[in-house]
Symmetry: C2
């Protein structure tokens, strides 16, 4: 197996895009295809390539799970609209929060989201549209980590030995299967995506539900969403590979107005990495960390404590859930 | 009320000691007194002053709660032995762990420890010795924080409106009631305590049980004890006011040998402060933090993640439990 990072120049990007446009065309034939856009670099690149290949015979959906970042669904839809790609926004918040109710185990949370996403929401859309081809942004690192048992990616059913044709009634096309993140970003740039999209830090499949230890209720998602907004504003110019805010389930003692206040803790992680296989905490200036702690404890209700991850991957992972 | 820090020079120290030696003598009269030594600066100073006042009529006990740091009970007893003060070491581990079983709420944990300490173990010793006078190291900050509702100190029953004479059958003498930590350290130096004792960072009454979020089982105490040993070795020369390792109850994803390993998290806190009323995180070099994370994840079984507190007090508190 190829394990080195694949680097890619402008010419190779264009060749790759042309090759995939061709492959998608021949795979879909006269049929139609469907894909879900999350706004991450992988699904954004797949959307652009498939749209170039299929035009109107591609139906692209943005499923609002209720687990996205502040303003994200509307922002992504409008960015693609500006590039001539129509994206349908589906409000599925209730489905996801109903499925997540009472779940605290990370694997159960992932499964509830996968099930809601593929079977309940996306499966329904596939049946409605009659599309037999599903485009997915699965990349090389996803497969490696799944094979190694580190993570179960929710978007690579085939790699997990599940036959998607049989289980959900569609066939999966995965154009990015041989690429790592840096190559995908280069292709995104060639495709004309705005830098905000092709340069975006990775965001997990289960979205903000992966940023909450314990139950992902609407209230707890709202807390981590508010902390994430503050964090991303502060660190977007840091050049870091990825940065995230995690709401802990543990409660810690704090003080408000001179009184004891048993409150919430937010953990910040900020990573230096090439491809997420190994990573180190960014040595952020203390001024930045203290400013973040001040802002988060001031603006996010109930938070009395902010910590910063100082562990490398391994033995840590990028995300906590 | 006096709120400024009390500073104290050598002469004032000696005058204070002489005054307290006198006061203790007249309070105890021909009776006998008893005290519990934790090895913290407060109880160490009280032990030395009371021993100077009462000699053999003072019985000093070190109660091994099972919640102390690595080798601490034996070390403290030997230090006082070297200074001519006999300290009796009481193994009460079983009493404390029985009382803590199943408790996760910080206040319930504190109460279980207070109850075990005063009523079960120390109360028993008082009845055995027939001593009617109990010496305590309560200081000014303890009272302020209790009055403000920030913390319930387990050693100031009187301030909480509980009559100790009636409830536990002894009378409390508190020689340090008007002093803050810096003055107590100065007096400790004058008394001839080794710098390791008079310069010691504060350690909470509930000891390592306050360093564990959730249930304080013998196994979980052992984990935070191991992390504390590594932390104190690394940071003892940092000059910080206080530094601590906290075992979280939350589990986070980690990796061991390329496989997913759902593991434990240790939070490090290191504080700059004068008197613990307000405090800021020490701006430790990242090399130090990363070295600590490496050591803790390598040597403490099950730990896959280490974080560093970046929040000021307030809204944080020094301890998490």
């Amino acid at each position: 197996m190829e394990t080195e990072e694949i680097t890619i120049d402008q010419l190779e990007s264009e060749r790759f895009i042309a090759g995939q446009v061709e492959e998608i065309s021949s795979a879909v034939g006269n049929g139609s295809a469907i894909n879900a856009l999350s706004g991450g670099v992988d699904s954004s690149v797949v959307t652009m390539i498939a749209h170039r290949s299929l035009g109107d015979r591609l139906r692209t959906y943005f499923i609002d799970t209720g687990l996205m970042r502040e303003g994200e669904p509307e922002y992504i839809v409008s960015v693609f609209q500006d590039m001539g790609v129509h994206v349908e926004l589906i409000d599925a918040k209730k489905t996801f929060f109903d499925a997540l109710r009472g779940l605290t185990d990370p694997e159960e949370k992932r499964q509830a989201i996968t099930q809601s996403f593929y079977k309940d929401v996306f499966g329904g859309l596939v049946r409605q549209t009659g599309a037999k081809h599903l485009l997915q942004g699965t990349n090389y690192t996803d497969i490696e980590e799944t094979v190694a048992g580190i993570k179960r990616q929710h978007n690579i059913l085939a790699q997990l030995g599940i036959d998607p044709e049989q289980r959900y009634g569609y066939k999966v096309i995965e154009p990015l299967l041989q690429l790592r993140k840096s190559a995908i970003r280069a292709i995104g740039k060639t495709l004309g995506l705005p830098e905000e999209l092709y340069g975006r830090p990775p965001f997990p499949g289960p979205a903000l539900a992966a940023r909450v230890i314990g139950e992902a209720t609407p209230e707890r998602i709202e807390i981590v969403r508010a902390a994430t907004t503050i964090l991303e504003q502060e660190l977007s110019r840091s050049g870091a590979f990825q940065y995230l805010a995690i709401l802990h389930d543990d409660r810690v003692t704090g003080m408000r107005d001179g009184k004891r206040d048993y409150g919430l803790q937010i953990e910040i992680r900020c990573w230096e990495s090439i491809d997420a296989k190994v990573a180190s905490p960014t040595r952020l200036p203390y001024e930045t960390l203290e400013h973040l702690a001040d802002q988060i404890t001031l603006k996010v209700p109930g938070v009395v404590s902010v910590t910063y991850n100082v562990t490398k991957k391994p033995p840590s992972t990028i995300e906590a859930v």
